[in-house]
């Protein structure tokens, strides 16, 4: 109910403001030659090798469509074509229309990359990501929000001389694994739902502050709250509160002769207490656990700027440490750490060849009933090329 009021009042305000603005300057009239279309995107392919497999993993082609109708109306849409396990998968990364209500205040609606922390919204495209892989917590069985359908307001401004940016959104929101299809995943949060499973909407936002005047440091806080259960199910009222801290520090440091790039994010996923009952091999099993997960990543990059050799200036060294912990006593209890070390060669600002060595250590995961969680160490070598165009 509350969403109806929120959305209707928003629309009414918009229409009022807009009709007023049109009286003043007719700002929305698309004049010939003012509207502009831009087709860009990126592509990548990855080779990987470890004890189990050596393969030309996957390749992607990601076209990006941008359309600026006027100073106020803008569209961004991105498709992703990916070859994985011999099949081409097509996904709509995002597609949203942006209305600039006022300077520093934008309203977006559609499919949006969720600004929960910085990784997915800003860093995941392969020409931006410093490593061929993503930190723990994203990807298959990811516990972190990526993209969703909804509305968002976002922008940046100054408060008492300090720059800040903000985002507030209402989205369809995540759901919870009820154990019917996958008993061993019961209680897990699922972000990329195919359809909206309830009337509750996820509400969240992010605030970033820039304590230094040269914008080199940004510290962000994000939160999201939602109910997860299916409509009219036992789990309908189960809620989740997610929050995250992130930081970015990018600066040329003269005594190190290069640009230092420090980025990271710490995430907490807290789901209400609940006893889950699932059928396993025709026996009803019940699970009660403290449904709290967390994940982190800490990344450091160094790009030399000293000397006259262009070859050296095109190099970049990167290290990223990442962790993921899922709830104790859950059938999907796990503890993982990951260390990735990389060397990149930048041919252009958006074109690179990346070499990386990644050490994953995983305890648990989908352990069978009563068994001690198993430990697994996997070391993988990656080569990825990426090109932005």
């Amino acid at each position: 109910m509350k969403y109806k009021y929120l959305l209707s009042s928003l629309l009414i305000i918009l229409v009022l403001v807009e009709s007023n603005a049109q009286n003043q300057s007719g700002i929305l009239d698309p004049k010939p030659g003012n509207s502009r279309f831009l087709l860009r995107g990126y592509s990548d392919a990855t080779f990987m090798s470890n004890d189990e497999e050596t393969t030309f993993g996957n390749a992607r082609f990601v076209p990006l469509f941008l359309y600026k109708q006027s100073d106020k109306l803008f569209f961004e849409g991105e498709l992703e074509f990916e070859v994985e396990d011999g099949e081409v998968e097509v996904a709509l990364e995002y597609a949203n229309v942006n209305y600039s209500i006022a300077p520093n205040l934008n309203l977006r609606a559609g499919k949006i990359l969720i600004p929960f922390g910085i990784f997915f919204d800003r860093l995941h495209p392969s020409w931006i990501n410093r490593l061929p892989t993503v930190p723990l917590g994203y990807g298959h069985d990811g516990i972190l929000p990526t993209s969703d359908l909804g509305v968002e307001i976002r922008g940046a401004s100054y408060l008492r001389g300090m720059r800040f940016n903000y985002s507030l959104y209402v989205m369809n929101g995540p759901r919870i694994e009820d154990g019917e299809d996958e008993a061993e995943e019961v209680g897990m949060i699922v972000h990329e739902g195919n359809e909206d499973n309830n009337n509750n909407k996820a509400i969240g936002g992010r605030l970033g502050v820039f304590p230094l005047r040269d914008q080199s440091l940004e510290i962000g806080f994000s939160a999201q709250s939602a109910k997860l259960g299916n409509r009219d199910s036992e789990l309908e009222e189960v809620g989740a509160l997610l929050y995250a801290f992130d930081w970015t520090y990018v600066r040329k440091v003269s005594f190190l002769g290069g640009v230092i790039d420090l980025k990271g994010q710490v995430n907490f996923i807290n789901i209400d207490d609940q006893t889950y009952t699932v059928e396993e091999d025709s026996v009803m099993e019940s699970y009660t656990f403290d449904n709290k997960s967390n994940s982190t990543f800490f990344q450091l990059g160094y790009r030399p700027t000293f000397g006259s050799s262009q070859f050296i200036k095109n190099l970049e060294l990167v290290g990223r440490y990442s962790t993921l912990n899922t709830p104790e006593e859950a059938p999907w209890e796990s503890e993982s750490t990951q260390l990735a070390l990389g060397l990149n060669y930048w041919i252009d600002w958006r074109t690179a060849v990346k070499f990386a060595y990644q050490m994953d250590s995983i305890t648990g995961g989908h352990a069978e009933d009563g068994e001690e969680p198993e430990s697994l160490d996997v070391n993988t070598f990656y080569i990825q090329w990426t090109i932005g165009f």
């Binding site: 831009l38 600026k68 006022a102 940016n165 940004e218 709250s225 109910k227």
Partner: protein
């Protein structure tokens, strides 16, 4: 948890309405050029487009040189960044002007 949810919802709604109203009010009292610089600290106004480009465009990805695009393409790309990368209007205008003058 339920209380936290309600508090969060309340904060979001209040912050949202407050921003919309204050922004709209200030918008109506000023021309668009004025409202873009309203409340912008002096040290930002004094920065050149080139300086803002150097400071800001390196935070997420490698910096694009002005030669990457034509004027018309920069128009769209910088608007995209104003939204996606949360640039302030003043920054976006200054950076765009610099990129167009240096490509």
């Amino acid at each position: 948890m339920k209380d936290i949810n309600k508090i969060l919802l309340l904060i979001s709604v209040v912050a949202f309405t407050a921003t919309v109203f204050t922004q709209c009010a200030s918008q109506q009292n000023a021309t668009s050029a004025e409202s873009a610089t309203k409340g912008v600290p002096e040290y930002v106004l004094q920065k050149s487009g080139a300086q803002l480009w150097a400071e800001s465009c390196i935070r997420c990805h490698n910096t694009a040189s002005p030669a990457t695009f034509s004027d018309v393409q920069w128009d769209v790309a910088v608007k995209h960044m104003e939204i996606r990368a949360q640039l302030t209007r003043v920054e976006a205008e200054k950076v765009l002007e610099f990129l167009k003058s240096a490509n």
